[in-house]
Structures are given as C-alpha cells and as structure tokens.
C-alpha cells in the first residue's frame, strides 16, 4: 500500500513499516527549545541527571523575550546558556531570530524528524520534514535519548490549483482553510499540501502553510521536497541536506480537500480564534491602532518586500503604529541591504531586532485596553498580545501594510488595481501639504 509523506518519514525513522494509527518509536534528528519552554525542559533533564544530549541537533533558541525585558527572564536565559555550555547543545542567541525561521534556514531537512517545544515547529514540514510541536518534557526526553514516541497520523491531502489573484497570498489560503476546517478540524492529523499552486509557490510562501497547520489542530503540515526546496537549501550552502521526498501516488488519505487559489479573496481572522475567518470586505473599516508585521508566519524577506512595495513613499495613518520585526538575522540583513528597513522607518514605522516581537504578549508592542492590532502572526487568542482587553485580527503582510496606510482594515486588492493607486498617491501629497 502506498504511503503518505508522514508514513514514509516515520517508517524510515522507526525502522518499521509504519501506517496511520501505528505507535512508533522514531529517532529524532532535531530537538529544539525556546526560552519560554526551555527552562522547564532543562530542569526536567537535571532532575533525571540526563545532561547529555543525544539528538544529532539539540538546539536552544532565545527568541521569545529577546533581548530580555525582565530580570526573571534574564535568569532563564542564563540557565539555557549554562546548559548549552555544559552539554554542547547549540545556542541561538538574542538577535539570531525565531526558532522556526532558524530551523528552516540552517537545520531541518527533508526526511527529518523535528520535535520542538513550540507549537509552530510544524513550520519545517514545508521542507519535507516530519516536524511537530510538543511540551517541554517530551522534547527533553527526545533531546536526551535521541528518540520519541509518535502515533502515525492519518493525512488530509490539501490539493491546491489555480493562480493566486493579485493581493492574495498563501496566508489567505491557509486562513481560508482553517476557517473551513475549524480550529480542531484536523486534530491528530497530518496536513499534506500539494497540487500545481503549491509547486509554483516559493519556499517562503510554503512555510506559511506549514506554520499554521497547528491552527487547525494538525500534528504537522507536510510538503513534498522539489526543485524549490533544493534551491532554498543550496542558497544556504546546504545542498548536501537536499533529497527528493514525495508521497506515493497510491497513498491513502483520510480526506482530500480541493481548493482553487484563483477564487480566493484576502482573508481576515477576527478575534479571538484563528478559525473565525471572513473575507476582508467584511472587515473593511475596522479601525487599527497597531499593525504588526513579522513572526515565524510572515516575517520573512518575501513578506517584507510585499509590505515595502505598498509602503514605499507613503505614510502610516497618524493613529496607527507600525511595528516591524524581521524573523531572523538573515532576513534582517537582507532587508537592510535592499533598503526595505528604510522604507518602513520612513513610513513612520519602527523596526525591532529579530525575534518573536509582540506576538506572545511579553514585550515590544503590548496592546492597551480595547485596542486593535492587525497582525501577520498566526494566533489571535484573547490575551495573546499581553492584554485580555485587546483585539487581534490576523491577515497577510499585504493586507497589514495597506491597512497601516489607511488606519483601518483595507482590501489590498485596491492597491493592485491601477486607478486606485493614483488615488492613494494624491492623498499622500495632500497630507504633506497640510
């Protein structure tokens, strides 16, 4: 019987003929902590006197509170640094970037099993890795023993065809999918994205899909490796990490979902759940106090380019703050060299250092009571951005950037229709005269 990507990888890594429903012990290639989950994991290992790391890549990422805004968190960071020195686990320091972006840039590869104490570890699934989020104890054990237990998931195949219309992106596709499935619609399942539209998509856009698989409850979000994967790894000096990995043609899927990208419109996830998605036209006019462009979902160079294209030569609305956080040092440097950071700063925005930024509600843009943030992140739960009285809406970088100019949620397709572009320019000029 043919195998899905999840079944193929877990068969290889467990040394048994694994099919959906089987419980396997799989070897772990990458085990990762971040600074919110690492201290608990490190203490669990210390309790067991398991202070050797056996996973080939054991990595600690300081990204959620980087640099530290409080002494308690500074002390947590010290614990992680000391553990790294003692065990040889790799350390990703303040300024290196978000765990998931760093994993795809430098560590995860097709065919790997990647476990991370962060729910968005599924991001590496776009490289063809079985990547999944777990808690601190699971990852601690995986790091110490170099293996973990997994139930082989059934797979939902998401088959996407058609060309994306201007102003519509992979973020809109995945928000639409989550709205359709519901926040628990794919619980315990693997999502496997494929079809012509996925083949044509850049790696950066694919990461968005895998990143948000967990928002439908899924264990991972896999994409077959191909020439795009190869090129992504080659550009980072990692050609040896590349291998072709595809599902079998006769793989058995629990469900096949077909989506025509050409029919999609920009999506908005309304507060306070990610599956509360609607067309942008239904959100038009919602006043926005803060636009946040960044995160492991949409803080990559392609995202910043799209936003900069819209913001170049324009100003954010007077009552709308613009916070930009590149996802990694690589993204930051690239945006710096190509002048994108200047575009954001001239547009009235602030550019922070690489990391998770305000996404987790720790620092760098906590909302006030009743304030609205339009964010390119993956979550909008109540209290997510540090205040249960705040409101978080999710959208693509294009929607976020265009809305920053208008001060309210706006349809980015207007920007791409020529007549409207002139109108915006005129408004900006008028504004300058005043």
């Amino acid at each position: 019987m043919g195998k899905t990507l999840a079944e193929k990888i877990l068969s290889e890594k467990s040394g048994q003929d694994a099919h959906a429903g089987d419980i396997v012990i799989a070897s772990v290639d990458v085990a990762a902590f971040q600074d919110g989950t690492g201290p608990l994991g490190v203490r669990q290992l210390q309790k067991m006197h398991l202070e050797k790391v056996r996973a080939p890549k054991s990595i600690l990422f300081i990204d959620h509170a980087a640099p530290s805004p409080r002494k308690e968190l500074s002390n947590d960071h010290m614990l992680l640094r000391a553990f790294s020195k003692k065990t040889g686990a790799l350390l990703s320091e303040v300024g290196d970037g978000v765990i998931h972006q760093r994993l795809v840039e430098s560590h995860a590869k097709p065919g790997d099993v990647v476990i991370g104490a962060d729910s968005h570890t599924c991001t590496s699934g776009a490289l063809g890795a079985f990547a999944t989020g777990m808690g601190s104890t699971d990852v601690a054990i995986g790091m110490a023993m170099g293996k973990t237990w997994l139930k082989v998931p059934e797979t939902f195949r998401v088959e996407v065809k058609g060309d994306f219309p201007p102003g519509v992106y992979s973020k809109d596709l995945v928000l639409y999918l989550i709205g359709m499935l519901g926040a628990d619609g794919a619980t315990y399942k693997a999502l496997e994205f494929g079809g012509r539209a996925i083949e044509k998509m850049s790696m950066e856009a694919r990461f968005v899909l895998s990143n948000m698989a967990v928002e439908a409850g899924a264990k991972t979000g896999l994409i077959a490796s191909d020439r795009k994967t190869k090129e992504y790894l080659r550009l980072r000096g990692r050609i040896r990490d590349w291998r072709l990995l595809r599902p079998d043609k006769d793989a058995k899927y629990e469900r096949v979902i077909e989506i025509d990208a050409s029919k999609l419109v920009p999506q908005i996830a309304f507060p306070h759940t990610v599956d509360n998605t609607r067309s942008v036209t239904e959100a038009k006019g919602v006043k926005v106090n803060q636009v946040f462009l960044g995160t492991c979902t949409n803080g990559r160079i392609e995202d910043l380019k799209i936003a900069a294209r819209i913001l170049r030569g324009r100003q954010r609305a007077p009552d709308t703050r613009l916070v930009v956080v590149p996802a990694s040092r690589e993204v930051y440097l690239s945006a710096m060299k190509s002048g994108l950071l200047e575009v954001f700063v001239r547009a009235g925005g602030i550019v922070m250092g690489p990391g998770c930024g305000p996404c987790v509600g720790v620092h760098q843009g906590v909302l006030g009571d009743g304030e609205v943030c339009l964010s390119t992140a993956n979550r909008n739960f109540r209290g997510r951005m540090g205040n249960p009285e705040g409101f978080v809406y999710l959208a693509s970088p294009a929607t976020a950037a265009y809305s920053a100019i208008n001060g309210e949620i706006s349809d980015p397709r207007e920007f791409f229709s020529k007549g409207k572009r002139k109108t915006i320019r005129k408004t900006v000029k008028k504004g300058k005269k005043r």
Binding site: I23, I25, G36, T37, P39, L40, Q44, K47, M48, H64, A65, R70, E72, L73, N75, D76, L79, G116, A117, D118, S119, T121, G133, M134, G135, S136, T137, D138, I141, M145, K147, W149, K151, A183, D184, T187, Y188, V214, G217, K219, T273, V360, G361, V362, V366, R379, F381, R382, G383, R384, M385, G386, N387, P388
Partner: protein, 166 residues
Amino acid sequence: MILKGKAWKFGDSISTDLICPGRYFHLRSNLPELAKHVLEDADQDFASKMAEGDFVVAGNNFGLGSSREHAPTIIKLAGVSAVLAKSFARIFYRNAINVGLPLLECDTDKIEQDDEIAIDLATGTIHNRTKGIELKAHPLPKAMLNILNDGGLLAHIEKHGDFRLD
C-alpha cells in the same frame, strides 16, 4: 481511586493563552506564583475560589494553542484533580498525561457549574451526584495510560529506562 469535587464550568476553545497568559511569561520559572493566575483570562475568580480537588469542565478543543507545558502543570498545581472536556487539543493532551494530570473526554453538557462530581479513574466513570447521572469517558489510548499510570513521562522513563508503550 475516586476523585471528588465541584465542577467549574468553562466554554469551548479554552486556549493555553487563557489558561496560562503570556503576560506572566516571566513567572514560568516560578510555578507556584504562575499557578495563582491559572485560567485567569477565562474566569478571573477561578484561582481564588476553587477548592483542592475540584474539576475543570469545558467544551470542545480544550487547551488549543501553544505547546507550553506550564498550562497543564499549573492546573494540576492549583489543586484541580482532573479536566473534563468534550475534546482536547493534541499537544495539551500529551502534556497533561506527561505531567500526570488526568483528562476525561465525555459529554460535558450534562454537567453544570457547581455540580458535585465523583470520578473513578480506573473505569472512567463520572458520577454527577447533583443530577444523579452517570457518564462514561472515552478510554485513554494504551500508550498514554502506561505513561499516566507510571506518574508521567519522566517517571515512566526512570522506571523502564526506555519507552514501554505496548
């Protein structure tokens, strides 16, 4: 073992952000202090008013969101003896078993706020003593039952030196 306590009723989609808010990120290495804020954004009074042994009773997809193991850990630390819900999010489920917090999947529409509940964990029988109804929980998968019976994942590995799941 029979667990007895009062039901604290919550709705659907109780996220880990509602259970363990991100604004207390700096308390993650101070679990007793963090536990004082358990479920604060879902019910401000819960932590101060609940009694040792009480149950958290919720709707669908309890624990969705982040992988923070601190969420089930502080529910347990606060004194909650089990969480009952119609369904649980995957990572939360695994974390709860790993830290030894019992979870029961059952029809929680039959339980209201303040109902007196008694649970037999061995059989998965839930007795709503206020309403005089008996409910049955879906049994835990074998692998997870082994881990829970050993007292969590750490104790499981210490006991066997490896995974013993079947």
